[in-house]
């Protein structure tokens, strides 16, 4: 069920991949606070310095077992700064248990778009070959 068992904590930096005009970030297992903050800076820098204008940032959360208020704030800030740089952020693949917990914690992450998986996120950003855009996107304020 878990793609990767949460092995040792991953203190290292999180890679940011460029897929054309979209940045793809895959979070997995344990993310240290420092690495989360580093990621926030990395994404802004990548958007600002990209040769191709970045239109979207997709953050794959399918390997993330918990989101607490710290990581929630980091995700919201990534989306806010990406938006100022004209890119849209989509959270992909959040696990149901994580979503339930976030709501009870009181974090609804307003303004963040979500998609069931990376493929759907990319198609929301207009990057998929599939013709039928079945977008049930929630427009956050």
């Amino acid at each position: 069920m878990t793609g990767l068992p949460a092995m040792h904590p991953g203190p290292g930096p999180v890679p940011v991949l460029a897929l054309g005009d979209v940045l793809l970030v895959t979070l997995q297992g344990e993310l240290h606070d420092g690495a989360a903050e580093q990621l926030q800076h990395d994404i802004s820098r990548r958007i600002a310095s990209s040769p191709v204008p970045v239109t979207g940032v997709v953050i794959d959360l399918s390997g993330v077992e918990i989101i607490d208020s710290f990581l929630g704030r980091v995700l919201a800030e990534i989306a806010a700064s990406a938006r100022l740089l004209a890119a849209r952020t989509i959270l992909a693949g959040m696990r149901p248990a994580v979503a339930i917990t976030l709501v009870e914690l009181g974090l609804t992450l307003p303004g963040l778009s979500t998609a069931l998986n990376v493929e759907k996120a990319l198609s929301l950003l207009g990057r998929a070959s599939s013709a039928a855009p079945t977008a049930h996107l929630e427009e956050g304020a």
């Binding site: 904590p9 344990e30 248990a97 917990t101 009870e104 009181g106």
Partner: protein, 147 residues
């Protein structure tokens, strides 16, 4: 409520690596006890909030994790202990959105909503201990923090 203690583990809270370790250990213990995935996730999230508070606001401390047994029921008690400045106005600190540190101010109030039992013991100048208890679902425990 006089559950016999079956085992206690003590983990330091002194760095963000320690927070990750606390989350893993709580996850493991909760899974071993038979908490379902949603319960595990809530408990680990609450633990992450309280451990971070002990680190950030309390200047570090430790967590004590105790397995509880009451008849056939199994539970987990987690205490987050620091010797920091304490909380002057607990009611205010427990308010959604209240923060003195540039956070979201959801940690304390949110953690309380995520578990069955929540107690906060603090003395200005001496420190803070927050204790949470959760039972593997099935026990008719007193409900707190109902919406």
């Amino acid at each position: 409520m006089h559950a016999p203690i079956t085992s206690t583990t003590r983990l330091p809270i002194g760095s963000d690596a320690d927070l990750a370790w606390v989350r893993q250990q709580v996850r493991q213990a909760a899974a071993d006890l038979g908490f379902n995935l949603v319960q595990q996730t809530k408990l680990v999230t609450a633990a992450s909030e309280l451990a971070r508070n002990a680190l950030v606001h309390g200047g570090g401390g430790h967590m004590e994790m105790t397995v509880l047994a009451e008849g056939a029921h199994r539970g987990l008690r987690l205490s987050f202990v620091d010797a920091g400045p304490g909380i002057r106005d607990v009611e205010l600190a427990m308010t959604d959105g209240y923060t003195t540190g540039g956070g979201l101010g959801m940690g304390l109030s949110g953690a309380k909503r995520l578990v069955k039992e929540f107690t906060l013991d603090t003395r200005p100048g001496q420190g803070t201990t927050v204790t949470i208890v959760d039972w593997v679902s099935g026990l008719p425990a007193p409900r707190t923090g109902a919406p």
